[in-house]
């Protein structure tokens, strides 16, 4: 697939990284800063073009004529929109994806149609990160919550501790613990190594367990892995930027929210947008301020400023001052490793949250959703099985008869409104949404082929 990425910022660079390491993709990156591009080209096998991302001649030089996908990821909404317009009118690019940050554009009616601004997919990293954090707060104790089939099914990552009911027991006993509902353990990471579990696998303390369950059953299953935490009530947010304010808005009705912003002018603006949350003017790493505002009784502290170093330091400080759980927004992958073993409970990587929504459009076959996990080493994917028994490798077969690549498992199926937890004898029907877990994303190409319909269907 020929992919054109516009903008080599944080999101653009990480998209280039993830997309270019898949053999089948040819990636070209456009940016105005030659030095950024040079550095990127040293690391990745991509082509780079210097120039303004929305100018027709720049796009032409970057090969927009043959491109299958244009992904506009500059930090200017307007540039992204015009770039997609140019790609559509000038080069008839089939798929156009744009990053749209401001909610004003996002919510506008009929703006993004083929005869107005032809953008097929809109991505708002801020929105994605915000709802990601929201899920984590909704399910305390989880390290990741990923939605499939419009939120009907959720894949939850959770670290097993001593108090989990299932810890130290065979997985087959899960049915005895919770007789009437179904869930499935998708994968277990023990000391960084992936394993696909079977009935005899025993969960140990410290394992990172990914399980899938219907939305309503999640809390019950969480209690199998670790002591159930009380629902979050008090939340403190550091950083009144785009993400911080969105999160505050989403949480202020149900939780007690405090938001700390350094710039008085910005704080004033935020306070006008928010109704119940308390806006504090000050430095998130100011010990006095944190103590004054009872940081020791806060359930979750989220550091969401633009500076990842500040996020790390302020969340470490709050943890020491008694915050129950701290999360920090961290872009750099090497920092994530550093801090997650230490005192920060959850490191949120915006790139990883965002990249999944891009990957879904690059995949061959009808892929609805992709979530990138464990820094891109693993992937969870929702694909639609098309065709019939003759021309599909999937439809009409029981799961045990499907030749899945090693390290891959079908974990659930969504059929209409019904969520079916996968068993070895579950038969897949046409138009089922199949949810897969891959511990090794290098097998992705074989999986794509599996879900493609044979020629006779076309």
């Amino acid at each position: 697939m020929k992919i054109l990425i516009l903008g080599a910022g944080q999101v653009g660079s990480s998209a280039a990284y993830h997309l270019s390491r898949e053999e089948a993709n040819e990636v070209t990156v456009v940016d105005r800063r030659p030095e950024v591009l040079r550095e990127l080209q040293d690391r990745l096998d991509i082509r780079t073009v210097v120039g303004h991302a929305a100018y027709p001649d720049v796009l032409e030089r970057a090969g927009a004529k043959d491109a299958d996908i244009v992904v506009a990821l500059t930090d200017m909404d307007e540039t992204n929109m015009v770039a997609c317009q140019v790609a559509y009118t000038g080069f008839r690019t089939p798929t156009k994806i744009a990053r749209i940050r401001s909610a004003e554009y996002m919510n506008a009616n009929k703006l993004f149609t083929q005869d107005a601004i032809p953008i097929d997919v809109r991505i708002s990293p801020e929105q994605l990160v915000c709802s990601y954090v929201e899920q984590l707060i909704l399910y305390p104790g989880s390290s990741q919550v990923l939605e499939f089939a419009d939120g009907r099914v959720r894949l939850v990552g959770v670290k097993a501790d001593r108090d989990g009911l299932l810890v130290g027991q065979r997985l087959a006993t899960l049915k005895d613990h919770i007789p009437n509902t179904e869930a499935r353990i998708a994968a277990i990471y023990r000391q960084g190594k992936a394993m696909l579990p079977d009935g005899d696998t025993v969960i140990q303390e410290g394992d990172e367990v990914f399980f899938i369950a219907d939305r309503k059953d999640i809390r019950v299953f969480m209690s199998e892995m670790r002591r159930l935490e009380d629902p979050v009530r008090r939340v403190a947010i550091a950083g009144g930027g785009n993400i911080g304010v969105r999160l505050a808005l989403a949480l202020e009705q149900t939780n007690q929210v405090k938001i700390i912003e350094r710039d008085p002018g910005r704080a004033r603006d935020i306070s006008e947008q928010l109704n119940k949350a308390i806006v504090l003017v000050g430095d998130a790493a100011d010990e006095e301020l944190l103590l004054e505002e009872n940081i020791d009784s806060v359930d979750v502290f989220c550091a969401l400023t633009n500076s990842e170093e500040a996020n790390i330091l302020s969340s470490m400080l709050s943890k020491r001052l008694g915050a129950h759980k701290v999360m920090a927004l961290i872009n750099r992958a090497s920092y994530v490793d550093l801090v997650e073993s230490g005192s920060i409970d959850i490191a949120i990587s915006p790139q990883q949250v965002t990249i999944g929504s891009l990957l879904a459009h690059v995949r061959r076959g009808d892929v609805v959703k992709v979530h990138s996990l464990r820094r891109g080493a693993a992937e969870a994917m929702e694909a639609i099985a098309h065709g019939n028994e003759e021309n599909s490798n999937v439809v009409g077969r029981a799961i045990e008869d499907i030749e899945l690549p090693k390290g891959t498992a079908i974990i659930a199926i969504v059929r209409g409104d019904q969520v079916i937890i996968a068993h070895h004898d579950t038969v897949i029907e046409a138009d089922d949404h199949v949810i897969l877990f891959m511990t090794d994303r290098r097998k992705i190409e074989r999986l794509e082929t599996l879900f493609q319909v044979g020629v006779s269907f076309v």
Partner: protein, 483 residues
């Protein structure tokens, strides 16, 4: 430094290269020239060496870093020049010394085209073929070929590609994937080779000669299967075909790629380097032809034109084919031709020399200084086409230029201290450093007349010239080896 990766790739490349010793075996058996054994020996030796190198570290999965790229490329060219000499050394018919065998093989691989062999017309067919093939492989670059056929090099491929490709700007890729870029370059190269071969065949060469000369023409090498080089054929048609393909091979191959991709020739003329390249060739040819005419070297004006044009293009593009012995031409013509070879061909072509684009940039710098004298407060960027050239590139060009001259000076003195006269030493260094081939004075017909020391100096010069000095030079700096 990442020794395991360097060793693994080096071993792998050697094993791949060993395969290129098999076609001469086929030629030997077909023409029944009884000299297949040295090639089989060479094949076995190279394959074994590569395998021994690769086996202990073949599980190493690390990525190639920038520094490793330099080391791999420099080491590979050195090692390859040595192993490529094996069949020549093993051959009983040639009975070459180690020095001569390595000289010949290095001269082939670096597309220099200087030879120590005499009596080419009597040599076994397989040996003749092997020399031409060495030039062909060296022309587009053996590393570029490896990047094209070994996909697992990945991003490391870019590091290797950069260390080998000539020219001041090496970041431009034709396609997003480096393997695809390398493949595209080799396809263009292959297409030219085939067309050139057909051209020669139609103009009256035998199939074998046509193939061999197509190899060395498109590679801008200069080896021939005959003692008299292209002059052996004594055919104006062949001369003109050679001129055309030498000219074409001296153009940046990315221009050819775009011509093929977009089916247009317009951008050739928009490219400032191409225009300068054409201009230099036209000026040099005109002067040479005019001088030949004035001095009445040839009785016939047609011969004057053909020989003047051929020799001007052949030497200025650093090919080194000859139709007549130009070193005895009157006045400044021989010196002019040698000087033209310093400019050489375009960046990203198979030609040697300093490269047209660098000379163009240096010239534009000179012009800028003059304009600055007149308008002291003017802001004058150095422009290529309509684009300003970054100061990093201009700096790099100056650095290259000065190092080229220093290296040249040092080698000239070294050559002279082996006992060569000034003209011979000067032209011998130019012939090797510019990857040209023929020189003046004692080396006008080959390097068999000079001492072993002088040959080794020439070998070093060829390698420095082909890898554009810096790739080799960084290896002897302390910074490179410091952790």
């Amino acid at each position: 430094m990442n020794w395991t990766v360097v060793q693994r790739i080096l071993g792998l490349l050697l094993m791949v290269f060993s395969l290129t010793m098999l076609p001469p075996v086929a030629f030997s058996l077909y023409y029944d020239d009884h000299s297949w054994l040295p090639f089989v020996e060479g094949f076995g030796l190279t394959l074994a060496a590569g395998f021994i190198c690769w086996l202990p570290v073949h599980r190493s999965k690390k990525d190639l870093r920038l520094r490793d790229g330099f080391l791999v490329v420099a080491a590979f060219w050195t090692v390859l020049g040595t192993f490529g000499a094996a069949p020549l050394y093993f051959s009983d018919g040639l009975s070459l010394s180690i020095t001569d065998a390595i000289f010949e093989s290095m001269s082939g691989l670096t597309t220099t085209g200087a030879t120590v062999l005499t009596g080419l017309d009597e040599l076994p067919v397989s040996i003749l073929y092997y020399r031409q093939q060495l030039q062909w492989l060296g022309g587009m670059g053996i590393i570029v070929l490896a990047v094209a056929v070994l996909p697992m090099l990945g991003v490391g491929g870019m590091q290797l590609y950069r260390a080998e490709t000539p020219g001041p700007v090496k970041d431009t890729k034709l396609t997003p994937r480096i393997t695809e870029t390398a493949k595209a370059l080799w396809y263009v190269y292959l297409a030219f080779t085939i067309t050139c071969m057909l051209g020669y065949r139609l103009a009256g060469m035998g199939w074998f000669d046509a193939l061999c000369h197509a190899f060395s023409t498109v590679a801008i090498g200069g080896f021939s299967t005959h003692e008299l080089s292209i002059g052996y054929f004594n055919s104006p048609a062949i001369d003109l075909i050679a001129v055309f393909f030498m000219f074409v091979a001296g153009i940046n191959f990315s221009l050819h790629f775009f011509a093929w991709r977009y089916v247009s020739v317009k951008h050739y003329f928009q490219d400032p380097e191409f225009r300068a390249y054409g201009f230099v060739l036209i000026v040099v040819s005109t002067i040479v032809i005019a001088s030949l005419y004035i001095y009445q070297v040839f009785a016939d004006p047609g011969l004057t034109f053909i020989n003047g044009l051929f020799q001007a293009v052949s030497i200025a593009t650093t090919t080194g084919f000859t139709t007549v012995d130009f070193s005895v031409w009157p006045a400044a013509i021989p010196a002019l031709l040698i000087f033209a070879s310093f400019i050489g061909g375009s960046a990203g072509s198979t030609a040697g020399g300093i490269k047209v684009i660098r000379c163009l940039l240096v010239y534009k710098q000179g012009v800028r200084e003059i304009v600055r004298l007149v308008h002291p407060s003017a802001e004058i960027p150095v422009k290529l086409g309509n684009k300003a050239v970054g100061s990093r590139v201009v700096d790099a060009v100056w650095g290259f230029f000065s190092v080229y001259i220093i290296v040249f000076g040092v080698m000239l003195l070294a050559m002279m201290s082996t006992g060569l006269d000034q003209v011979t030493a000067f032209s011998a260094v130019a012939a090797s450093l510019n990857n040209l081939g023929p020189g003046l004075g004692d080396v006008s017909s080959g390097f068999h007349t000079v001492s072993d020391t002088a040959k080794w100096i020439a070998v070093a010069g060829m390698l420095l010239g082909r890898l554009e000095i810096f790739t080799l030079l960084v290896l002897i700096t302390p910074t490179f080896w410091r952790h």
